[in-house]
Subunit: 236 residues, 2 copies
């Protein structure tokens, strides 16, 4: 019965294997910033793959800002990593204070987003938020569907700010937070919690509709405070 194992091992592409292998060399300091990588041919030989695969791996690392390359010269380890891409390591998130930090960051963005949304929301934005709230009302509390619609509501709030990067950052961070919550399995849901959560959302929506930035801010803060305690996070 090695079938399953085979299927697991077969998963990633060769290029990702090569990429993470080189990435590890950099992370562990065996390749320092400014160092020149071996030539593509050498890499292909040492890894036992074609030069094409090596190039795909390099293209990936280049897009992540970890290395840069120039025609005729070679590929080099970049001075400042994470130049173009922001990554959050899932394993690191398992530590409590890391999760708390991310949750705090999310809170800052959400609260300010709510205030901006109250000032700038269009009628279309309001409509989208209301629809999201309705679908949320229909979903059973704690289900995957429920979490999805919850995220969707917050997304519509972010969208109402008119700031495209607000949407991008917030969805990214929220997604990470949600993943971490799911992984920890920290959610015992009773029915009345659904009503509470929905009520918090309604308060946010009302404030945004009224154009009251301060109230929207406060409502969002209260909501996040409630959400934090719901996942067993001690607030400062």
């Amino acid at each position: 019965m090695t079938l399953k194992l085979d299927k697991v091992n077969r998963g990633p592409h060769l290029s990702t294997l090569v990429a993470s292998s080189i990435s590890r060399e950099i992370a562990q300091g065996r390749l320092k910033p400014g160092d020149q990588l071996p030539t593509e041919q050498q890499l292909a030989q040492t890894f036992g793959v074609s030069r094409n695969v090596v190039r795909e791996a390099i293209a990936r690392l280049r897009s992540e800002g970890r290395i840069w390359s120039q025609q005729g010269r070679g590929a080099f380890v970049a001075d400042q990593p994470n130049a173009t891409v922001l990554t959050i390591d899932f394993d690191a998130l398992q530590q409590a204070n890391a999760f708390q930090s991310l949750f705090e960051l999310r809170g800052i963005l959400e609260v300010q987003a709510a205030a901006l949304a109250a000032r700038r929301r269009s009628d279309g934005d309001l409509q989208a938020m209301k629809e999201a709230l309705e679908t949320m009302r229909a979903a059973p509390y704690g289900s995957v569907m429920w979490l999805k619609t919850d995220l969707e509501f917050h997304k519509t709030v972010a969208a109402a700010t008119g700031n495209i990067y607000m949407v991008q950052f917030l969805t990214f961070v929220s997604e990470k937070v949600r993943e971490s919550i799911l992984a920890s399995g920290n959610q015992q849901g009773s029915e009345d919690l659904a009503a509470v959560t929905l009520g918090e959302h309604e308060r946010i929506l009302d404030a945004i509709e009224a154009g009251d930035a301060d109230e929207a801010q406060e409502a969002m803060r209260a909501h996040l405070h409630g959400a934090a305690s719901r996942v067993g996070l001690a607030e400062e």
Copy 2:
């Protein structure tokens, strides 16, 4: 004199051009989640490049979580974009409102970071901030060195919050903002501006040292307001 435009448009590698082109299709909704991309051959033909280049572009998009592909089936737009990494397209940033959005996001984070720093800063944090300010004082205004130390100061403020992701996000966003400013070449520096900027920084530092969160917040807001006008950005 379209040299600059050419240099922007001409991403050194064809693969990056193809990647951002596909990426744009997804962002603009012409390719919806779940949709199947054209085959590699078709893409190669429509873009006028080799299939190899298309594969490198796809490898990049796959690593960014925007698409997923399976042997024998094809490549598809991912349901939840930005699953693993957060990217900001440099070309997209050239548009004015995009830059403004990013600047706004940076402002939100910086202002709240200043408040948190005022509450939580340790003596070591204060020491680092003071040193950063000193090196900044020594650098000539507008030079690359000056910009670097400026970033460094803001980084120490972020670090003082004790929130690791605050540092990560802020440096990422600030770096993007700085790149964009450098690219637009928007900086005419006179000597008195240096004094003004330094004064703003000192005010922030003083507030954080005093532990006055509100004042730190306001000082940072004033500083960013000044910085915005200095790069010719109209504030709302």
